[in-house]
């Protein structure tokens, strides 16, 4: 990135000859600019936050308060009982544990297979390696929507329809994760492991005692991405899961909203929405640094 940036401007004639504005003038215009930016950002920020706020407020209202016009902003009293009522109507704990089981097992699986595969691609020389790597890159280009039907057929052949295996097992492997791990491991200096190799360490020792500890940041990034992807996924569970006790949160939430088409208990739907959104927002806020880093590296890798 940096090299590109430097070259870009060296090749560009200077924009003009005019003298710069006086320091005082720039300082004042900077402050004015900040004030304007602040105003615009606050306005946009409200638009970003209002849906969340509205979801939370609705989850505490009574059904009558939901169906009023003009909308009543605050509930007359905060009905925490709505949450208990959702619990009675749908197996929230089951949804939750299904989501957690799928997301956690897939994340652990991806961390293991991707780091092993990444190590193989980045740090071992052997015939056929580059060809296989190209194969990986090409599978990354196939969109999920395109292979969802064959994948369903495959799950059916394996007898995994309406089973959490269909959600977990295909998720244990990630070409993208392998790619990410490879890119990171390529950047670790060779000398580190050469010393270990002289001491007689095999590849597995080098992988587990030298390389993996250095990979903590990228492992964290991969973990957060994978977890969130599985937690939020809707289409694939919709295809392979039908029985209520196996539903994940997004599926349970969608089913709850659609089950009672006419008189939807919106206050309860919102309570369930809060339950499904809260954990993922918490994880994001805790792991923000790694998440953002992952987006930024994948963005720049693709761009440069």
């Amino acid at each position: 990135m940096n090299t590109i940036s430097t070259e870009a401007v060296q090749g560009r004639p200077a924009a003009g000859l005019g003298a710069g504005t006086s320091p005082m003038g720039t300082e004042r215009s900077r402050l004015l600019g900040n004030l304007g930016a602040w105003g615009l950002l606050s306005l946009g920020g409200i638009i970003m936050l209002v849906p969340f706020l509205w979801m939370v407020l609705m989850s505490f209202k009574s059904l009558d308060e939901v169906y009023t016009f003009p909308p009543q902003i605050l509930p007359n009293q905060f009905l925490f009982s709505n949450y208990a009522e959702v619990w009675d109507q749908v197996p929230v704990a089951r949804f939750f544990s299904n989501s957690a089981t799928v997301a956690i097992s897939a994340t652990l699986g991806v961390l293991l297979t991707s780091s092993l595969g990444g190590y193989s691609f980045a740090r071992i020389d052997y015939p056929g390696r580059n060809t296989i790597f190209l194969l990986y890159l090409s599978t990354m280009m196939i969109p999920f929507a395109v292979i969802m039907i064959p994948l369903f057929v495959q799950m059916r052949m394996l007898g995994w329809i309406n089973s959490l295996y269909a959600l977990i097992v295909p998720g244990l492997f990630s070409a993208w994760g392998t790619f990410l791990m490879r890119q990171f491991m390529m950047g670790i200096p060779k000398e580190l492991e050469e010393a270990a190799e002289i001491d007689g360490c095999g590849h597995f020792r080098i992988y587990s005692t030298i390389i993996m500890p250095l990979c903590k940041p990228v492992l964290a990034t991969l973990a957060i991405f994978t977890f969130m992807g599985f937690w939020n996924d809707f289409l694939w569970p919709l295809i392979v899961i039908s029985s209520r006790d196996l539903k994940t949160l997004p599926l349970g939430l969608a089913g709850f909203q659609q089950k009672v088409a006419l008189n939807t208990p919106w206050h309860l739907v919102m309570a369930l929405a809060v339950v499904s959104v809260l954990p993922i927002l918490l994880i994001f806020i805790i792991g923000q640094k790694y998440y953002v880093r992952g987006i930024v590296t994948s963005g720049l890798k693709g761009a440069a």
Partner: protein
């Protein structure tokens, strides 16, 4: 296999003795590390690809044996007005939602690139919708767009505007979904732009200032050219994503009214899992893939005309 030897010229193999033993160990270790991963990737991506090719030439209702029907699936598609309608919806959604999101995200990133109080909190706020479940976000917005009790029509009534029936009016349903999708997606593009902006060396901007460039000129002649690779990346990935959008359509309108918001993916889903036309649905998925591929290739082919440094890198 010998042909791939030049692929690893820099390896430490040649620098030490005991080559053959070492080489063999590497070969064994290399594949041992890769095998679990490789088997998984092969099983869950190559197998479906092969199945796709097979199914496009067959008619199959999931229970009987598949029947070979040549190109009949594609002939059927050509005459299926709903296929064209939903494909059109996908294009409409993609080519409106993505450019608007990229444009807004760009200005947002510029605002968030300033050094000022509170800017970090703003970044988190704008990013929150991106990490929210699409299903939950769609449910919230379905209520916000609700015609009689929703927030938007209430806000409009304050300025004496009679708001439309957003999600049940075929003129407004797609627009409503685009608004929701951009609310959700803008933070992602913003973050990538922000990373790009912060990658621009400060000396360059300082130099431009010294040369008398005002804010607009710094933007036009320094930032925008240097950000073209970022814009290119966001456009390519967003188009691919938008072509596959599904959740918000299913939840907010269920494709209605009168197919006005059924994208091709939802139509494929229905054909596969409601009508059990597996061959037909797969054939449409193949067309979806070709559309995505064509658009991506087109973007790559015109990239060298506007993306800075595109030739150097590729």
């Amino acid at each position: 296999m010998a042909a791939s030897a030049p692929a690893f010229p820099q390896g430490p193999v040649a620098s030490r003795g005991g080559m053959t033993g070492r080489r063999r160990r590497n070969l064994i270790a290399g594949y041992a590390f890769l095998i679990p991963n490789l088997l998984g990737v092969l099983a869950f991506s190559l197998f479906p690809i092969a199945t796709t090719i097979y199914l496009t030439f067959h008619e199959w209702n999931l229970s009987d044996t598949p029947v070979f029907n040549g190109l009949q699936n594609f002939v059927l598609m050509a005459g299926d007005s709903l296929f064209w309608k939903t494909l059109g919806n996908t294009f409409y959604y993609t080519f409106v939602a993505v450019p608007v999101a990229v444009f807004l995200a760009f200005w947002l990133a510029l605002l968030l690139d300033r050094k000022m109080r509170g800017v970090l909190s703003f970044r988190v706020i704008y990013f929150l919708p991106h990490v929210t479940l699409t299903v939950a976000a769609s449910i919230i917005w379905a209520w916000i767009f609700q015609a009689e009790f929703g927030l938007i029509n209430w806000a409009l009534s304050k300025i004496n505007v009679d708001g439309p029936y957003w999600l049940t009016d075929s003129r407004w349903a797609m627009i409503s979904i685009i608004i929701m999708s951009n609310w959700k997606g803008i933070g992602y593009a913003m973050l990538i732009f922000l990373a790009g902006l912060q990658g621009i060396p400060a000396e360059l901007l300082d130099a431009a200032t010294v040369d008398g460039a005002n804010g607009w000129r710094r933007l036009r002649h320094v930032k925008v050219p240097l950000l073209t690779p970022t814009i290119f990346f966001i456009l390519t990935t967003s188009f691919i994503g938008a072509f596959q959008a599904f959740d918000q359509f299913m939840i907010m309108t269920n494709g209605g009214p009168a197919f006005a918001t059924t994208p091709l993916v939802l139509y494929i889903y229905r054909n596969g899992f409601a009508y059990f036309k597996m061959g037909y649905a797969t054939s449409m998925a193949a067309i979806l893939f070709l559309c995505i591929l064509a658009i991506t290739l087109f973007q790559w082919s015109v990239a060298r005309r506007w993306v800075y440094g595109f030739d150097m890198d590729n």
